[in-house]
Symmetry: C2
Subunit: 287 residues, 2 copies
């Protein structure tokens, strides 16, 4: 453990990394706040560059536990009590903050959808088209990872490397490919050229999601609540889907709706595994 003065230039660099998307992009780094998230990054095998600890928090069990797991490769910096919370995103460092290599994502390749491999083998990806609220982006990264999506492509909207997104993803950032892109329409066009069918969620007027054909390889596009995915994306989509609601059309936010859709896709893959086999059997000539 090395003591670090708040006047050390390292603090200014750290502050830039917390605050500036460009700095994070250039350094290919993520800022991970709190011992729980740093632990999740370790679990996922993320490469930890630096760890900063609040002197006053070193004895706390959650912090001490992570410090012990770091081993000898990373020597943490100890800051004067309270200094870390003036650097962190919204004073939620809980005594610990780590700089971690941003994982290099792989653009997802669509598996050919043969009848036998239909049972989820083709997989799905999630495209976030211009989502502005970091909490929603993080929650959807979490949902996509939990559902087993192959990747989350963030096209416009909130910077996915923002500490707020990392926090809301609850460690899922390190368990799925998170891809940074610009124009949602260009992302959709590229996915379609590569064999992905594109299903865009719309608040109303789409095919009911539970009756729509969702077999893969499928790209699920989620737009912002205010503006949707945009008409260019909606027009180019192979499918427009909606969730029938008992209440008003605004009764689910995009994070909740997206979670329901992700789990419907994976549920359907499982069901298709069974139904697919049944269908194959039915096609056999009678004995």
């Amino acid at each position: 453990m090395r003591p670090l003065s708040v006047r050390n230039p390292r603090i200014a660099r750290l502050t830039r990394l917390v605050k500036r998307p460009g700095e994070r992009a250039e350094q290919r780094a993520l800022v991970v706040e709190g011992p729980v998230l740093v632990g999740a990054a370790l679990d996922a095998g993320a490469a930890i560059r630096d760890v900063y600890v609040d002197e006053a928090a070193i004895g706390r069990p959650a912090v001490a536990d992570v410090l012990q797991r770091l081993g000898s490769e990373v020597e943490p910096w100890a800051l004067p009590a309270g200094a870390l919370d003036r650097i962190g995103d919204v004073a939620t460092s809980q005594g610990m903050l780590a700089i971690v290599d941003r994982p290099e994502p792989t653009w997802p390749v669509a598996a050919p959808s043969s009848p036998g491999e239909r049972a989820g083998g083709a997989g799905f990806v999630v495209v976030l088209a211009g989502l502005q609220i970091p909490g929603n982006v993080g929650t959807l990264i979490r949902a996509a990872a939990a559902a087993g999506a192959r990747a989350v492509i963030c096209a416009g909207g909130a910077d996915p490397s923002s500490p707020k997104v990392v926090r809301a993803s609850a460690g899922a950032w390190f368990g799925i490919d998170v891809i940074d892109a610009d124009d949602p329409a260009a992302v959709v066009a590229r996915l379609q050229r590569q064999g992905w069918r594109v299903a865009t969620a719309v608040v109303r007027g789409g095919e009911p999601y539970d009756a729509a054909p969702l077999d893969g390889p499928l790209a699920l596009v989620l737009g912002s609540e205010a503006h949707g995915a945009g008409s260019a994306v909606e027009d180019a989509s192979d499918l427009r889907i909606s969730i029938p609601m008992a209440g008003s059309a605004e009764s689910l936010n995009v994070a909740m709706a997206g979670t329901v859709l992700c789990f419907e896709i994976v549920r359907r893959s499982r069901a298709n595994g069974v139904d697919g086999a049944a269908t194959e059997a039915a096609r056999l000539p009678p004995p």
Copy 2:
């Protein structure tokens, strides 16, 4: 519009209402913050008792719009600029705060589940067993209302009348029966006596939710992430269900998992409507 001094005893009463669950229970009142939520309460036909407006916010379109809708029955109080945000829950009044009659909920009666009426007619209720985080309680009230649940029963945990819960419910509080209860095990026993089948979500080891029999009348029980619904409730349940996850078992929080389960129940009701008819047809003797 009547001016209101911050030294008026009405302000002290308002502060107690914002801060004290007991005061809200005694007055059968909810505190609704912000013009969007006050508008949602009006949409739902809630009875507005008092409206407080920040002088500096009167001209804002969202606030002015709600003031116009209030009509002559409620004369708003105008507070000096900034005073309202020192009263509100977390300084998010956005210039407006209303005291609203807390709707009197009705305990849900289970409809008899005849084969013909299986298609969702029997309905479902959601029981929140000891959920402590107000944001999760509010989000689940929102999800339950959107899925068309008959009621949300809050058994222990966060006070459902808390301004934070009302805020997270995004207006859904006024669109569904929200029932305050104490002991989750007593709630479950009462529901079972009345003909509800009880399905409790467990993090692991339950029947996969998409293969479990979820036809109604069904009570879905959701426990806290840390403690579950408790062993008394789990043991008494007719069914224990889990969501298969691609990631770690902690990869969905209770609000996300509960949303997925609510929408699976309503999806299944719709599917049963169709499948049920198909099954009936299959039972007819061949011509």
